[in-house]
C-alpha cells in the first residue's frame, strides 16, 4: 500500500505543505486522521505554525528517507544529522520548545525524544540560558550546592516532594 499519494497539511497561519503520505504518517496523529478518512482535503494543524511545521517535515522526510533501502543511512550518520538538526545555535530556544509541543501534538515519538533529551541535557549541563528575552518564562538553574541542599531537604522536608 506504499503509494506516492500526497497529503496537504495546513499550518495555523494558513500555509499549505504538500508531503508524501509516507512522510506524513510519521506523525501518529496524522496517521489516525488519514485512517479515519478525515484527510480528503488539507489536514488543518491549528497548533503548529508554518515555521515549526517546515522543520517537522524536514525531520520526518530525513527519517523516512534514511530507512528506505536505496538511501540506507547507518545509525551513526542519522544520529549526527539529528544532532546538527537540533543544534542550539541553529535552533533558538523558543523554536526548540515549539518543536517539543509540535512533536507531542503530532505524536512523533522520535522527534519528541530528540527535542526533550536536548533540553534535558541543557538543564543538566547548566547551559540553559536565563535571560529576559526568553518570552514567557525564566528560571534559574540550581548550582551544585543548591542541588546538594535539595537532597538534604528531601530527607528533612519529605512533604515537599511526597504528597
Amino acid at each position: 500500500m506504499a503509494s506516492s499519494r500526497k497529503i496537504t497539511l495546513r499550518s495555523s497561519d494558513g500555509e499549505s505543505f504538500e508531503v508524501e503520505e509516507a512522510v506524513a504518517v510519521e506523525s501518529q496523529t496524522i496517521k489516525h486522521m488519514i485512517e479515519d478518512d478525515c484527510a480528503d482535503n488539507a489536514i488543518p494543524l491549528p497548533n503548529v505554525t508554518s515555521k515549526i511545521l517546515a522543520k517537522v517535515i524536514e525531520y520526518c522526510k530525513k527519517h523516512v528517507d534514511a530507512s528506505k533501502a536505496e538511501d540506507r543511512v547507518n545509525d551513526e550518520d542519522l544520529k549526527a544529522w539529528d544532532a546538527a538538526f537540533i543544534k542550539v545555535d541553529q535552533v533558538d530556544q523558543a523554536t526548540l520548545f515549539d518543536l517539543i509541543l509540535a512533536a507531542n501534538y503530532l505524536n512523533i515519538k522520535s522527534l519528541l525524544d530528540l527535542t526533550c533529551q536536548t533540553v534535558a541535557d541543557m538543564i543538566k549541563g547548566n547551559l540553559f540560558p536565563v535571560r529576559n528575552e526568553w518570552l514567557n518564562f525564566t528560571f534559574s538553574i540550581a548550582n551544585r550546592e543548591l542541588v546538594l541542599v535539595c537532597l538534604t531537604e528531601w530527607v528533612a522536608h519529605r512533604r515537599l516532594f511526597c504528597s
Partner: protein, 314 residues
C-alpha cells in the same frame, strides 16, 4: 504576547546568570513534557524553580518512571532515600539507573526491586556497595513473574566473575540483532553502548570480566599487524583514544599526552588546543568549563599555573 501573572512563591533570589531584571511568568508548557527525560538532579532543580513545576515534579508519576541518579547525588544516595524516591513511581518503575551510587547495598536494591517488579532496565555501573550475588538475586526476583530484563549495566561492581556473567545473561531478553554487537566508543552518550544488553563481557585477551570495546572499523584497518577482527579487548589490554575510540600504539602513548591523563590518538591530539607551557591539551570532555572559548590565543593548564606563580621573580 500577553504577560501572565506572577505565579512564583519563592523564586531563587541569587542567580549569577541574570544580568538584567527578568520578567517572571508561568513556565513554558514544553518544560512539563521534558520532565520524564531529566535525571534526578535535573528534576530536583526544576522542582525548585516555581510552584507549578514543583507540583508537577511532586505529584505526577511520569517523571519518576525512569530514574537516573547522577552526580552530584550519586555518592550521597542511601538505601532509605532511594526507597522513598522510587516509591513515587507507584510500583511502575521501568528503569532504575544508579550511576556510581556507592552507598547502595544489596539489601536496599532488593527492597526497591520487590516494590517495583516491572523494572526492565537495571543500570548499576560503579555501585561498589553491591556484590555480584546481590545483583543476581535482584535479577532473579525481577524475572520471577514473567518480567524479562532488557538491559543491565554492572561495570565497576567488584569481584565480577565469568560465572556471574553467565547467570546474568541467562535472564536477559535475547535479541538476535544485539547478540553480536561490537561496541566501539562512539556508541551512545558518554561512551555507553545502548545496544548491548549487558555492558560487560569477557575480554578475549585477559579473560577478565570488563567492558570490551572494538576498534571503529574505518580507523583501525592497517594500523596493526593483527587482523581487524582481533582488535577487541578491554581498556587495560588495548589502550584507546578517549575521543574516537581507535586503538593507540605504544609510541603514540608517550607523545600524545593529555593534561587530564586521558589517552588520545595522534590525530585527535593534533586537533586540540595546547597549554602554552607544557604543550599538552585537555580532552574535549575535560576542556568544557576549563577553557575560555573566546580567549585570545592559548591558555595555561591548571598544573602549569601553579608553577608559573612560583617563577614570577625569575
Amino acid at each position: 504576547m500577553s504577560k501572565l501573572s506572577f505565579d512564583v512563591d519563592h523564586a531563587s533570589p541569587k542567580d549569577e546568570n541574570i544580568g538584567e531584571p527578568t520578567e517572571p511568568g508561568r513556565p513554558h508548557e514544553a518544560l512539563f513534557l521534558v520532565l520524564p527525560y531529566l535525571t534526578l538532579s535535573g528534576l530536583i532543580a526544576v522542582g525548585k524553580a516555581c510552584t507549578s513545576l514543583r507540583d508537577a515534579v511532586r505529584d505526577d508519576v511520569l517523571p519518576w518512571l525512569e530514574l537516573a541518579v547522577d552526580d552530584p547525588l550519586s555518592r550521597r544516595m542511601r538505601d532509605e532515600i532511594l526507597i522513598e524516591i522510587t516509591s513515587k513511581a507507584n510500583g511502575k518503575l521501568r528503569t532504575l539507573g544508579l550511576s556510581n551510587c556507592t552507598k547502595i547495598t544489596d539489601g536496599g536494591l532488593q527492597r526497591v526491586i520487590e516494590k517495583n517488579p516491572l523494572i526492565n532496565k537495571l543500570y548499576l555501573p560503579g555501585c561498589t556497595g553491591l556484590t555480584p550475588d546481590g545483583v543476581i538475586n535482584a535479577v532473579k526476583t525481577l524475572s520471577a513473574n514473567g518480567n524479562i530484563l532488557q538491559s543491565i549495566k554492572i561495570n565497576g561492581i567488584y569481584n565480577l566473575q565469568q560465572q556471574h556473567l553467565k547467570v546474568l545473561r541467562s535472564f536477559i531478553q535475547v535479541n538476535p540483532e544485539t547478540l553480536d554487537h561490537k561496541c566501539s566508543i562512539k556508541f551512545g552518550r558518554e561512551g555507553d553502548c545502548n545496544v548491548c544488553p549487558v555492558d560487560v563481557g569477557i575480554c578475549p585477551k585477559c579473560n577478565e570480566v570488563r567492558k570490551v570495546i572494538s576498534c571503529p572499523i574505518e580507523m583501525c584497518a592497517g594500523k596493526r599487524d593483527w587482523r581487524l577482527s582481533e582488535c577487541r579487548g578491554c581498556g587495560s589490554c588495548i589502550p584507546r583514544c578517549i575521543q574516537c575510540g581507535v586503538c593507540v600504539a605504544l609510541e603514540d602513548l608517550e607523545e600524545a599526552e593529555a593534561i587530564c591523563a586521558d589517552i588520545l590518538c595522534m590525530s585527535c591530539w593534533l586537533q586540540l588546543r595546547k597549554c602554552d607551557f607544557c604543550n599538552k591539551p585537555y580532552c574535549k570532555r575535560h576542556a568544557e568549563g576549563r577553557l575560555n572559548p573566546s580567549g585570545p590565543r592559548g591558555f595555561v593548564c591548571e598544573l602549569c599555573t601553579v608553577h608559573e606563580e612560583d617563577d614570577i621573580d625569575v
